[in-house]
């Protein structure tokens, strides 16, 4: 369990204050949508929420073509063209939602972005619990310019975080109440999220 919790999932290849893109070490081995990941810059640990994942050609000029028509399985396809896996890369994007400095967690943007080539890890259970004691990061998610519906992302984050809580139900109720305050003027969005985290 411990080894799984400190799993390194990639390396930062594009970095900005508000988010970063990491390349996976193994093809298609992404962290989950809405998962809490961490990387670091000098002195601080930066937290990100995974909001997108892609696999495509390493060389942008070379597009993958369907080639498995005569193959019996995807595994057979990769065996028959072993170079393919070396020509593709998997990446995921994370939105920065906070950082940890001097053992204190802040749910707002860090003063410095993560350096390129910083390693990215899945947050272990204890760290997810520690981070999810506050729901301030939901503001950041709601106001972010991500490419998928905010409701989908927030619901995915809360579902993920609830899995490691001692009282999953209480956690989701508390999150729901917080969202009800933030989205008091937008019942439809609130309802969409609540529908997606209902047990």
């Amino acid at each position: 369990m411990d080894t799984e919790e400190i799993q390194r999932v990639g390396e930062v290849i594009r970095s900005a204050t508000s988010g970063f893109t990491a390349q996976c070490y193994e093809l298609d081995r992404f962290p989950h949508l809405g998962g809490l990941v961490k990387t670091k810059n000098i002195g601080a640990q930066i937290y990100g929420i995974v909001f997108n994942a892609t696999t495509g050609g390493i060389d942008p000029g070379r597009k993958p073509l369907a080639r498995g028509k005569d193959e019996v399985s995807e595994e057979a396809l990769y065996k028959s063209s072993p170079q393919i896996s070396k020509l593709l890369k998997s990446e995921f994007e994370a939105l920065v939602v906070g950082y940890k400095e001097d053992n204190k967690v802040f749910q707002y943007l860090p003063p410095q972005p993560a350096p390129i080539h910083s390693f990215v890890y899945l947050c272990p259970t204890q760290e997810v619990i520690e981070f999810s004691r506050s729901f301030e990061f939901l503001y950041t998610l709601l106001n972010s310019a991500v490419t998928l519906p905010h409701e989908e992302l927030i619901a995915a984050v809360l579902r993920n975080m609830s899995l490691v809580q001692e009282d999953k139900h209480a956690f989701l109720v508390s999150a729901g109440k917080h969202l009800a305050t933030i989205l008091s003027g937008d019942f439809n969005r609130l309802r969409t999220i609540l529908e997606r985290i209902r047990q």
Partner: protein
């Protein structure tokens, strides 16, 4: 200014009309050539003697077996490897005071079967030392020849083979393997009168042929074949043999024929314009290969045990020329394996050997790469407070202005 296509359109039309007008004649010539190729009564030994004894002004192929022999591929083995290299270069920029060139070798190792895996690598090497930039004659004359242009291309070819030999050495012993190179194995470009003998000796004897020696030694007793792949060949070596066959002179004497026929009406003109690929596109079924032939290029006299043979293979609707050294050509197992695995590579690579296409991708150097290398060199010079000298012509090309 971009190319003015409007002004070329009418010229393109003239060109296609010209090609169309020659088609009927070419078909007649092809039919004549095919009738000789498929003539089972043709005595190959007689033809060989006629080729060897003749005074011929072109390079015919020396037949080894019946001209129309053809072979089906075998079933590929369950486990096998294909190794390929390709290279590209950045030539010396004569408008820049810093003289250097770069050779980038792309290499690919593909393993199929139970332990399917791939290794794709590129190895860029910068050459800047005087001994790399210039070759000096060892005869004491101090004659110096700069390694650039054609000579750099030849040096790159040799580097490709050095890498191929290194990769051959690292192959697993237990599985059959094909070493694949791009382009011809016949270093005919060393035959230029402009290239002095000491360069030929260095590049061919101590370079290319030494690599072939190494590969031969590594493959001794193992199931390792070496071949080079020539896509869309324009050669007409076999047509050259057919010309000899239909030549009424025996011994063949092109000079005498020209003197005897001042009107240019030569018997061998009956197959003018036909290329080997036309013959084998007609003769072979998809996947089949032709029999083997020996190239009679004069540089081959220096090849010794590595004399180059070739055969043609039909891949879907295309013909490729495969060149192999004698020790592969004379080993039926390795010869057939080269045919089978090349065909298998083409099947996996949409008509072109996938290992070669990936080696090319690893090796290719783009215009942007050239520009970036130049910037890197300039940044490094500037960091050391060294002068950066470029010609005004180079500046005008790099900085476009009105």
């Amino acid at each position: 200014m971009s190319l003015d296509l409007d002004r070329i359109a009418s010229q393109v039309e003239k060109m296609t009309d010209h090609i169309d007008a020659g088609n009927e004649e070419r078909q007649k010539h092809l039919a004549r050539a095919m009738s000789v190729l498929c003539d089972n009564s043709l005595n190959i030994d007689d033809l060989k003697n006629k080729i060897v004894s003749g005074k011929i002004s072109w390079m015919p192929a020396e037949p080894v077996e019946n001209l129309s022999n053809r072979y089906r591929p075998e079933q590929p083995p369950e486990n096998f490897a294909v190794v390929a290299t390709d290279g590209s270069q950045i030539d010396v920029d004569r408008h820049h005071s810093t003289r250097y060139y770069l050779i980038n070798i792309g290499s690919v190792h593909l393993e199929y079967g139970d332990s399917a895996d791939a290794r794709l690598e590129s190895a860029p090497q910068l050459y800047f030392d005087k001994t790399d930039l210039v070759m000096t004659s060892p005869d004491g004359s101090n004659r110096e020849v700069a390694i650039e242009g054609t000579l750099l291309g030849i040096k790159r070819d040799i580097e490709e083979f050095k890498h191929l030999a290194q990769m051959a050495a690292s192959l697993k012993e237990e599985i059959p393997a094909l070493l694949l190179a791009d382009g011809t194995l016949i270093r005919w470009n060393l035959m230029s009168k402009d290239i002095p003998e000491f360069i030929v000796s260095e590049f061919l004897g101590k370079g290319f042929l030494k690599c072939l020696d190494d590969i031969k030694e590594i493959s001794e007793g193992k199931n390792i074949a070496l071949a080079s792949y020539i896509s869309f060949p324009r050669s007409s070596d076999v047509v050259g043999s057919i010309r000899i066959s239909i030549c009424p002179y025996n011994p063949v004497n092109c000079d005498k024929c020209r003197r005897d026929n001042p009107n240019g009406n030569y018997a061998c003109g009956a197959v003018d314009g036909v290329q080997d690929k036309d013959l084998f596109l007609t003769l072979l079924d998809s996947g089949e290969r032709s029999g083997i032939f020996i190239s009679r290029s004069s540089i081959q006299e220096r090849y010794g045990i590595h004399r180059i043979y070739f055969y043609y293979v039909k891949i879907e609707d295309e013909i490729a020329r495969i060149e192999i050294p004698e020790w592969i050509a004379r080993n039926d197992t390795l010869l057939n394996m080269s045919h089978t695995l090349i065909l298998d590579q083409c099947r996996r690579g949409q008509g072109y050997p996938v290992a070669l296409s990936e080696a090319h991708e690893q090796a290719v150097v783009t215009a942007a790469d050239r520009e970036n290398l130049q910037k890197l060199v300039e940044a490094s010079l500037s960091e050391k407070n060294m002068e950066i000298n470029t010609s005004a012509k180079s500046f005008s090309k790099r900085t476009r202005w009105i």
